[in-house]
């Protein structure tokens, strides 16, 4: 009974937090942080604009925040950087053009791994139990 009560309390707490935050629009700072987290810092070694402490990343964060406050949408702001730097500036490759390659390659690699695993399991089943078990 204690466990059930504890689980119920946890569930109520999770639902309360979800209800409390789901309908709330993100602040300008939260939106700017999210956009910065999706962009690669152009003058850094592979870190995002949000994570980098470089002066250029700081300037980009300030620009993003100013544009969010000016009423521009997230895609509009991101597209400006893509226009200048190309898709390279996006930390996650886009689902178009050459950006599809890493996604498709990952899916193909996963599919190949699953296929090899299925074939191996089937082969094991067809072969029956190992000789040591047969002797028992």
């Amino acid at each position: 009974v204690t466990r059930v009560a504890a689980l119920a309390a946890l569930l109520v707490a999770v639902v309360a937090v979800w209800v409390g935050t789901a309908g709330r629009a993100p602040t300008a700072e939260q939106r700017a942080d999210a956009i910065a987290g999706r962009l690669r810092c152009p003058a850094c070694q592979g870190s995002s604009v949000a994570d980098s402490a470089s002066p250029m990343a700081r300037d980009i964060r300030a620009r993003i925040l100013a544009e969010v406050r000016a009423g521009r949408s997230d895609p509009e702001i991101t597209d400006d950087f893509v226009r200048v730097y190309g898709d390279w500036v996006l930390l996650s490759p886009p689902w178009r053009g050459i950006g599809l390659v890493p996604w498709l390659a990952t899916l193909a690699a996963a599919a190949a791994a699953v296929a090899v695993w299925v074939r191996t399991v089937r082969r094991w089943r067809r072969a029956g139990p190992p000789p040591s078990q047969e002797r028992e």
Binding site: A43, D59, V84, P102, A105, T106, A112
Partner: protein, 173 residues
């Protein structure tokens, strides 16, 4: 599974992995190199007033992004001066843009280097982000029609400057 099949699967996986690595680690693209030089107005580093990079149209130009903390920029300034003198008759304009720097540091650097071309101060990296700067120093070769003809990231030497400017003005001086 036969050895041949294992080898085939391994080869396929290696090919997929190779494509993945190439796609993810492809070098920095600089699409600005195929576009027009952005018209950004910046304050002059020395003296009052502003300079509109949009006014570069009509003459070949070098737009050089630099910073006082950049050791390579010092040597590069000498090469820029030589190139400016060499291509003066072709109307070459050299513009320096101090970026990711303090105004005082950039001014001190400019005084020491003796640069006598327009030097601008890019507070907030406005011009750098419009041009697509990825490193300091970085030099943009701008054709007379305003098109960015080439981009050189990192320190540029006399040979690369001469080659780029030969292409820009359509023949050796």
């Amino acid at each position: 599974m036969s050895r041949a099949r294992v080898a085939t699967v391994a080869l396929l996986l290696a090919a997929v992995l190779g494509v993945l690595v190439v796609a993810v680690l492809r070098p920095v693209a600089t699409p600005a190199a195929r576009g027009s030089a952005p018209a950004v107005t910046l304050p002059r580093l020395i003296g009052a007033g502003t300079y509109d990079l949009g006014t570069l149209r009509g003459r070949p130009a070098l737009v050089n992004f630099w910073a006082s903390w950049c050791a390579d920029c010092r040597a590069e300034f000498a090469a820029l001066r030589a190139a400016r003198d060499q291509f003066r008759d072709q109307g070459l304009v050299v513009v320096g843009v101090a970026v990711q720097d303090t105004a005082d540091g950039a001014r001190a650097f400019a005084d020491e280097s003796g640069a006598d071309w327009p030097l601008l101060f890019d507070e907030g990296s406005r011009a750098a982000l419009a041009y697509g700067v990825t490193a300091v120093p970085q030099t943009f070769f701008v054709a007379a029609d305003g098109r960015i003809d080439a981009v050189h990231a990192g320190p540029i030497g006399p040979d690369a400057l001469t080659d780029g400017l030969d292409r820009l003005v359509g023949g050796a001086p």
